[in-house]
Amino acid sequence: MSSVPNRPTESFEATRGGNAVLGKSVIVKGQILSREDLTIDGEVEGTIEMQEHRLTIGPNGKVRASVKAREVIVLGTLHGNVETGDRIDIRKEAKLVGDIRTARIVIEDGAYFKGNVDIVRAEVPRPAAAAPAASAPRPQAPATSSPAISPTAAGPAMAAGAGEVKR
């Protein structure tokens, strides 16, 4: 017998304390507005808005809805677009089909995700006296960016050989 703990269940149990819970025999069709953390282990179809709170979709949860929450944890199935102010956590065995706008995303191995991920960076307050050149927002660059390579220029060093056809 494996001694490896069942992480999704453990994590799911850990997230439930003190939450509103829709159990696995509950079906909701319509709009959910929540002012507290919510766990859904049943079925929901519609919209879910809880922008200051955390939504957890349990392993039995089947949600077909657009979701706006501070944080979303998916262990079950979610069809719909998701917008989070903080993060989305897609756990192993979870299935998510939809577009995501979030500040942070965690995807465990074994999760299925189909959709677009748009990372929304939090605005960092800038000093009022900053030089104009420094005031434009800049994308986060890689630590070791290298000069751009044009598509027709010679490529990087090749292990065994290379060829190119241009039209």
Binding site: I105, D109, G115, V117, G155, P156, A160
Partner: protein
């Protein structure tokens, strides 16, 4: 899991550091490594598991025979490649094209071309061992701009093998085709739309 250095990925990434805010397609299936790398560069990532989509569409019965069933093909294309024209600035298709038989392969390549903006790149991988009956499949993850991590997904029989000439023919509608033959019998192909 193993890692390999990738000249093709390095070339693909040259596009990513030139311009932020690109929309990229990754067909390896969602994973933290690729998602983190691409979004940290300021890009949007559209993720799907193309091999899984193939298995869902054609896996019940003979995988390649099913690829000539027009109903199954239509469902597959609607499910896996239903994107607007010129929606993406780059695509990572990895080795998935090796598991598509003739007519469907051509249709998929045409769709990919349709989905990509002019000037964008697509990275594809092809095994070069012509006598192998099955080839290893992986979930490919981008570790950094020159390194791929390979998570094994078993072995599969490829639909066909490609040499340089057949790759040029396959991507004849693209502006350019550049290929790198590596020591581990893998052709890395960068095509420019």
């Amino acid at each position: 899991m193993e890692t390999r250095s990738s000249s093709g990925l390095d070339q693909f990434c040259s596009l990513l550091v030139e311009r932020p805010g690109l929309t990229l397609l990754d067909l390896a299936g969602a994973n933290q490594s690729t998602m983190g790398f691409l979004t940290n560069l300021g890009h949007r990532v559209y993720s799907d598991d193309f091999l899984l989509q193939m298995d869902r569409a054609f896996g019940d019965g003979d995988f390649y025979e099913n690829q000539s069933d027009p109903i199954k093909v239509a469902q597959f294309l609607d499910s896996a490649l239903d994107y607007p024209a010129q929606h993406f600035d780059g695509a990572l298709v990895w080795d998935t094209l090796e598991f598509l038989s003739g007519p469907l392969l051509e249709t998929v390549v045409r769709r990919l071309s349709h989905m990509l903006r002019p000037g964008s790149y697509m990275l594809a991988l092809f095994h070069a061992e012509e006598r192998a009956e099955t080839i290893p499949t992986y979930s490919y993850r981008v570790s950094d701009r020159k390194t791929i991590t390979l998570s094994p997904r078993g072995r599969r029989r490829p639909a066909q093998f490609f040499n340089n000439r057949s790759l040029e023919k396959l991507f004849q509608d693209f502006e350019s085709v550049k290929f790198f033959l590596t020591r581990d019998h893998l052709r890395e192909v960068i095509v420019r739309r």
